[in-house]
Amino acid sequence: MFDFLEGYDLWEAFWTTVQLTVLSAVGSLIWGTMLAAMRVGPVPLMRGFGTAYVNIVRNIPLTVIILFTSLGLNQTFEVTLGSDQINTTNFRLAVLGLIVYTSAFVCEALRSGINTVPVGQAEAARAIGLNFTQVLTLVVLPQAFRSVVGPLANVLIALTKNTTVAAAIGVAEAATLMKEMIENEAQLVLISAVFAFGFVCLTLPTGLILGWVSKKVAVKR
């Protein structure tokens, strides 16, 4: 029944999806944290930049961003991201696009986490004589991180699904293979079911595990 799978490397395709997800997740966590730091920081100029970045990037379709990395950055500006192979370049460009897009959502999640900490806590911490670093590392951030596990899990799941957009620039991930298989094989429903199952396997455990973690660590208020 599943002999149509022969000749196609399903593992390879889903492995590319996983790689795209993990690399983009790490990248957008770093850049998103920097953006969030700018947005909640005391320097008005950086706050403005963070706000502008988030509002602009959130309203552009991911597809536009990813296609721009290929047609704009790569073909017009000849940016290759340190690789002479077009497949590797496209993969890295897709990761770059995903990071640019996802970090806006990471930033918002982190910012909402910091905002859930009542101002009174920080005031109390300052009142007993803690300095800024201590307030941040002992009182505010531990609570903030605990409350953003849930929202960040949602961002991660959305990111996993968004990696399929890399198909637009020919990265050989799951959706690309699915399109190819559907064109070549007459097994529409089965092929779709296999890929749907693959994505359910990727996203559902993430949601369950991180959902459990977020409930476990949530600060009860």
Binding site: I56, L67, L204
Partner: protein, 304 residues
Amino acid sequence: MSSVLYDAQGPRAKRRNVIFSVVFIAALAAVLWWMYDMLEEKGQLEWVLWKPFFTGTEAWSTYLWPGLQNTLKAAALAMVIALPLGAVLGIARLSEHAWVRVPAGVVVEFFRAIPVLVLMIFGLALFSEYTNVNTDDRPLYAVVTGLVLYNSSVLAEIVRAGILSLPRGQAEAALAVGLRKNQVMRFILLPQAVTAMLPAIVSQLVVIVKDTAIGGAVLTFPDLMAAVSPMSAYYGANVIASFTIVAVIYILINFALTTFASWLEGRLRRGKKSTGAVLGVDAVDELSAPGDHVDVTHEVEKGP
């Protein structure tokens, strides 16, 4: 001025801010200069490449406007079909009967876990193999199918959250005066929930508008996104200019929708007619992850 993270600033902190600002401006200027330099070097800033968008209407009437129309058409169709479907699924998920609740839950969780692109590819193949939909119409059908399958399950969660956000007394009082469960839902809960959900629904439209672009890039759906390549080919490789214009149009539409949703949320929160429960603009992102059954009412902000 008081924030969780820092106090009102004294002279030293203010001086430090100025230093940070100067360093930041320098870094930003360096990046902008590098971009400008690159644009200049590749000749992407020449007026010829930007001219079509600012003088004359040809670029708009030939490429941008038809594309935009398709984008809006797909988004509107998807919304109109997904909303009732989502409402039914959301209500079914709240049913007291397990044989209604469980299948609805499975459907919602399943389609929420699958990328829209996968659903669109499935739709495209479905229409070409099992129906006689015209080849030209197929991409639109496929895009709408993908969007409907995905967004009706997201909207189902919004509807569920909206109904759960209502004070429990509403349903109890209605049952007490002798309404049947179905009447309680139709006359008491749903009308109030719809008001509470409106901002979340409007902001879901932003997600739909953005997702239509996937169809434009992968399924040959002739939308705004798909207008970029023929346009830049016709006007002499003005890739950057074309992308900029298209991105700005997307930003304007979505920004308008976001602003409208926030305005609506504020208005509903201030309004006296509702029970005060409003499902905010951010509620869409805040909804529980697939498979995770947290009590949604916690995540719905209550009005004053």
